[in-house]
Symmetry: C3
Subunit: 354 residues, 3 copies
C-alpha cells in the first residue's frame, strides 16, 4: 500500500503531547496488538496486566502510561491515556479518506423542493421533495433519502443506504452501506387465519452522534416514533422493531434483534445476536451477554446471560450443574443399592418401589 | 409535523359506521396505547382485559366494542371490532404517502423488451429484458429487476430492492428496501476438501399479498422453485434457503433462518431469530417461540420452544428443573450422610464407595 | 418456462462420458430429488443408502455409480461420481444466464483514473479513482466500488453490492446482491459513559474463489486486514467482524456472526446462526452445529454444539440428562422416605434435616 502514511516516534510524541525514550527516528507505519506488532509498528499498554506480554512483543514503539517503566532498550512514548492516544495514532496513519467529491453529481436526482446545504451528493443518489440535508454531510452514490426527511450536519450516508420519508436524522450520524432506516414496522391483525396490515404511519428519530451498521434495519413506528438516542452505536445486521425507544450511549453488537415497543435505557450494552422480545424495559447500564434472549424486564445495572436471560453468575452456576448431572445420577443409583442392602439386613420391606 | 392529518371524534364515528358518546368535536391527531395516549390521541380497548387500564388512560377518545360501557365523562366510539377499526383510523391519520411519481423516470433503464404496464418507475431503477411489471406497481429508485422476471399488479418494490432473473412475483406484493429475491442458493459439493459450486438453476415464486422485510434474502432453488405462499408476511433480515416451500398465511418474525428444502405449512408462526434446519416439515398452525431451533419435523398445531425445539410446556418444566438442580445436589449429599450413619449403626460395610 | 433447455438421456450419457441403459430418447428438463422427480426429470443415487427410495421414484432417468444395478425397466446413466455429474447436468439445463451486456453502460460512472479491463459494467454502477477491475469481471447495475480497490478477473458483483475503498478482491470471486465489503469495523473506546470511535484504517482481503452471500457484511480491519481465505464460501446475512482471519476452504452458513480478531483455520464448517466471540482460534476442520456459540478456542478437528459450544456427544448427553431430571427428583424423594423408615426402625435420629 504505497499510500500508507508514516510518522516518526519523536514527531508522534510531540503530537500526542507525550514524552519519548529511546530512538525518536523510528518510523511507524501501522498499529497492532503486542503479539502481532513488528519493527515498524506501534503497540500500546493500556493496563499493567499487559506488561508481561510487552517484553516478548516485537513492536518498534510502545505507547505506555506516564508511570510505566520498561527496559531501556525499548522505544516508548509516555502519555496520560494510551487507549485514547492509540485512537489518535490511527488517525495520523489513516490513508487519505475516500470522500464524496464536492458538488452535486450530475447523475444525482435532488428534488427542486429539497433544501440541500451539503455540497457532497454522490452519483445516482436520490433526495426527495421537502427533504433537508445539512452542511458538511456526505451522501455517497446510490443513497436514497425519501420525502420530507431531515438529515443533520456532518453526517455520512455510505453507498446504497435507504432512509425513507419523514425520518429525522441528527448531526454527525454515520450510516453504513445497505442499511435501511424507516421501513414499515411489522404489524398485522389476525382475522380468520389471514393477516391484515396495520398501517405504520409513524417515523424514526436518530439523534446526534449515532452510528448504524451495514445492512441493519430500523423500522418506523406504527404511530409515534422509533428512537435511537444520542451517541448510541449500532453494529451490522441489527434489527430494531417499530416503536422501540433506545436511550443515549448504548452499544448494540451485530445481529441483535429488538422487538416492537421495547425500551433500552442509557448505557445498555448488548453482545452479538442478542434477542429482546416486545414491550420490555432494559434498565440503565444493563449488560446482556452474546446470544442471550431477554423475555422480561431487566432492572438497572444487571449483568445477564442465557435464554431466558438470567443473572450472569446464576446462569454460569446452572450451566456447571447441568454438566455434573450425569455424575449425580450415578451417585443416586449407588445410594439406592446401599439403601436396599440396609433394608434387607434390617428386614424392612418397602411398600413402594424405586 | 405540519403535514399530520387530523379528524374529529364525530366524523371518525361516522366513517367507521360506529356510534359515539361524549364530545364529538374532539380532534384526534394520533393513535397510541392506553398508557401513552394524550388528549389529542385515540386509543382502543380490544378486549375486556384492558378495561382496568382504560380508567387511568389520558386518551382523548377510546374505541370500544358495542357492549362496552365506560364512565360517561369519556368520549368513546362503539364499533363491532376495535382492533380492525384502529387500522382504519391509522389510515385516516396517515400523512400523504411518498409515492413514486407517475411515469418512467428519465434516469431509469427499462429494457425495450420489457412489458411495463406500471407507470411508476423511479430514478436509477433497472428493469431487464423480457420482464413484465404489472399496472399499479411502484418501482422505487435504485431497484434492480433482472431479465425474464414477472412482477404482478399493485406491488411496491421499495428502494434498492434486488429481484434477480426469472423470478415470479404475484399481485399486491410489498418488498422492503435492500431485500434480495432470487440470489443463488448455497450449495456446494465437497471433494478433496474443496467446495465445488452446485449450479442454482431454479427460481423463486412469491405469491399474492406477500410482504418481505428490509434486508431479507430469499434464495432461488437449485432446480425447481423456492415458494412463498399467498398472504405470508416476512419481517426484516430473514433468510430463506433454496427450495424452501412456505405455504399460505405464515408469519415469520425478524432474523429467522430457514434452511434448504424445508417446508412450512399454513399459518405457521415463527418468533424472532428462530432457526429451522434443512429438509424439515413444520406442520399447519405450528408456533415456534423466539430464538428456538427446530431440528426435526413438527406435527400440525404444536407450540414449541428451545434448542432443540420441544413442546413448550415441557421446555418450561425442564428449564425450571435446571434451576432447582443445585438444591437437589445438596439433598443428595445429606441423604448420603444419613445412609452412612445407618450403615455404621447396622454394621454394614458397602463394597462400593459413593 | 419456455426458455427451459432440455437434453435426451443418450446425449447426456455421451456428454458425461458415461453409459446408459434403457430409453435413450427420454427427454430431461429438470433435476429433482428421488421423491420429487417426475417423468421428464433426472434424479441421482450418490450412495447405496438411497437405493431403496429409488424403486418408488418417478424419475425418468437416474444417474448412478458404475457398479450400481437397478431393475431393467429403469433408464439409468452410469458414471464415476453421480454427485459431480449432477452438477454438470444442472449446467446443461440452466436457462441462458442473465449476464451484464458487454461494454460500460452509459449511465455507469467509472473514474478516469480507474483501470477497467472488464467490459461488463452495468447501469448506474460506480467505480472509484485508482481502482482496478480485471478482465472478465461482471459488475451488475447499482454496484459501488470505492477508490483504490482491486477486483480480480472473472468475478461477479451482483446488483447493489458495495465494496468500499482500498479493498482487495481476488479472481473468480462472487459477491451476491446487497452485500457489503469493507465497512468500518465496530470499535469504540469507553470514556465517561460515552463511546469514542476507534478509527478503522485497515482493509479487507478476499482471496480467489470466495463466494459472499446476499446482504452479508464483512468489516474492514482497525489496522491491518480482515481476510477471507481462498475457496471459502459464505452464505447470506453473515457478519464478519474487523481483523477476523478466515483461512482456506471454510463453509459459513447463513446468519453466522464472527466477532473481531477471531480466526478460523482451514476447512472449518459453521452451521447457520452460529456465533463466535472475539479473539478465538477455531482449529482446522472444526465443525460447529447450527445456533451454537463458541466462547473459547476450539482445537483442530472437533465437532461441537451448544452455548457455550462443547463436544457434540457431551452436549447431546447433557441435553438428554436434563430431560430425565424431573424423573430423578421423584426417585430421590422416594429414597428419602425409605431412609427415613430405616432410621425409625434402627432408632437413629439424624442431626440434620433433609
Amino acid at each position: 500500500m504505497s499510500d500508507q502514511p508514516s510518522i516518526t516516534a519523536a514527531e508522534l510524541a510531540h503530537r500526542l503531547g507525550g514524552t519519548f525514550k529511546g530512538d525518536g527516528t523510528r518510523v511507524i507505519r501501522a498499529v497492532a496488538t503486542l503479539e502481532q506488532a513488528g519493527p515498524d509498528t506501534l503497540s500500546w499498554i493500556g493496563s499493567p496486566d499487559f506488561l508481561p506480554r510487552a517484553s516478548k512483543s516485537k513492536a518498534g514503539v510502545l505507547l505506555v502510561t506516564e508511570e510505566c517503566s520498561l527496559p531501556t532498550d525499548r522505544t516508548v512514548i509516555h502519555v496520560a491515556d494510551p487507549d485514547v492516544a492509540v485512537c489518535e495514532v490511527l488517525e495520523y496513519l489513516a490513508p487519505p479518506p475516500d470522500r464524496v467529491p464536492p458538488g452535486v453529481h450530475p447523475t444525482a436526482i435532488v428534488s427542486p423542493n429539497a433544501v440541500v446545504e451539503s455540497t457532497a451528493i454522490g452519483a445516482h443518489a436520490y433526495v426527495g421533495p421537502g427533504t433537508t440535508v445539512g452542511a458538511g454531510t456526505q451522501i455517497y452514490p446510490g443513497v436514497y433519502v425519501g420525502a420530507r426527511t431531515t438529515i443533520g450536519r456532518d453526517c455520512v450516508l455510505w453507498p446504497n443506504v435507504v432512509v425513507r420519508e419523514r425520518v429525522t436524522i441528527g448531526d454527525r450520524v454515520v450510516i453504513h452501506p445497505n442499511a435501511t432506516v424507516g421501513a414499515d414496522g411489522f404489524g398485522y391483525l389476525q382475522r380468520d387465519g389471514r393477516h391484515r396490515k396495520i398501517p405504520q404511519i409513524g417515523t424514526v428519530v436518530v439523534e446526534d452522534d449515532v452510528e448504524i451498521g451495514a445492512n441493519s434495519a430500523i423500522d418506523r413506528a406504527r404511530s409515534g416514533v422509533t428512537r435511537i438516542g444520542r451517541g448510541t452505536k449500532i453494529d451490522n445486521l441489527v434489527q430494531i422493531g417499530h416503536n422501540v425507544d433506545i436511550d443515549e450511549d448504548c452499544i448494540i453488537i451485530a445481529q441483535c434483534g429488538i422487538a416492537g415497543s421495547s425500551s433500552l435505557r442509557r448505557n445498555v450494552m448488548l453482545g452479538g445476536q442478542v434477542g429482546i422480545i416486545d414491550h420490555l424495559r432494559i434498565g440503565n447500564g444493563v449488560q446482556i451477554a452474546a446470544k442471550s434472549m431477554a423475555t422480561s424486564d431487566i432492572p438497572d445495572g444487571r449483568v445477564v446471560r442465557g435464554n431466558p436471560a438470567t443473572d450472569n453468575r446464576r446462569f454460569l452456576r446452572e450451566q456447571a450443574s447441568v454438566r455434573k448431572f450425569p455424575g449425580w445420577v450415578e451417585r443416586l443409583r449407588t445410594l439406592t443399592r446401599r439403601v436396599q442392602r440396609l433394608e434387607e439386613k434390617v428386614g424392612d420391606t418397602p411398600n413402594e418401589a424405586t
